[in-house]
Symmetry: C2
Subunit: 197 residues, 2 copies
């Protein structure tokens, strides 16, 4: 497999659609449609392994609860359960981006980081978007006062049984990474969040 | 928040770029850029909660190993570790789509399903793409003979320690859901895969 070049099909403010020319394993020239948040996709900017966004899996240790948000998402046209997240500024450490977004979206503060992922790809057939998963201890009292007008966010502190109930609730909609983390939390308890085996 | 309408900005074979007009929580008209694999995004087709793709988390019980694939992904421009996955045909049960793709990509067979997610959103700010996560018991001998020309897939059977080593390997690249599942498997062992607490 070999990438030949990329062509911008459409460029909007936050998303660019590209057609990528590549050679398949038999050497046949093919085209792949993809989207990126960047001006050049990661398959062209060789060696760009920086995450675009940070997602925090927030464990409120004093309350022994997981912090979950419910947010309106335009592409879904509905409210979905997920975790605080945001785009990483150029040169910003993903952990500090997570800290900033956590505070903006929930009013909570990050105390320490348990573990983090490298840049992992949200949907590698569709986009070069990569995120860093940040498992962290948080503290404070939830507040939505820093929300932007385009954000409509509810904040929940949930123990293991409450998360179990949420996962079984008919009609509840989830982000994929949030569902994965909630499912593992229900099975394993807080040791999943803190990473202590 | 209220969706007003959607406009097709560009339509390619596998991806369509939309601009969505919506009212924010103050009633101000705004636009959101998004992509979809469908002709109409899910925020317009009200009540479409069907997953677009199925991803299988395959536990080879006879070998007591997790099945992981390494596949070239054009948008990433590199090989990434992930799980067998594929688009769901109209009307197809996600579990059978997972079964079919598992067989096509790895030669393995699905024996039973441990649990599954509802339609969960890969990156809800960017796309309406939703996937079903299928945790399943698999059997058989790995083989890549059914791969298509556009696919270049390596198949690995890995025990918990091997997955732990893979997650720590410098330069290894992961899909987000695969990283989440591997991380939980390393922490919890096979009970994570089978869902038995």
């Amino acid at each position: 497999m070999k990438i030949i070049n990329s062509t911008i099909v459409s460029k909007l403010k936050f998303v660019t659609l590209f057609a990528i020319k590549y050679l398949d394993k038999k050497g046949t020239l093919k085209s792949w449609d993809m989207v990126s948040r960047k001006n050049q996709p990661k398959c062209i900017v060789h060696g760009n392994r920086q995450p675009d966004a940070a997602i925090i899996v927030p464990y409120h240790s004093k309350e022994d609860k997981l912090v979950v948000i419910r947010e309106y998402r335009v592409p879904v046209g509905d409210y979905i359960y997920e975790f605080p997240a945001g785009l990483i500024d150029p040169g910003e450490d993903p952990a500090f981006a997570a800290c900033r977004e956590l505070h903006e979206e929930t009013g909570l503060n990050m105390v320490s980081m348990y573990r983090h992922s490298p840049a992992v790809y949200s949907s590698a057939g569709l986009t070069d978007e990569a995120v860093a998963m940040i498992f962290a201890e948080v503290t404070g009292t939830p507040s939505g006062k820093n929300n932007e007008d385009s954000e409509e966010i509810e904040i929940f502190l949930m123990d293991r049984e409450e998360v179990r109930g949420l996962l079984q609730r008919k009609g509840a909609i989830f982000g994929a990474k949030a569902w994965m983390a909630m499912d593992a939390y229900v099975l394993m308890g807080k040791e999943y969040l803190t990473g202590r085996e």
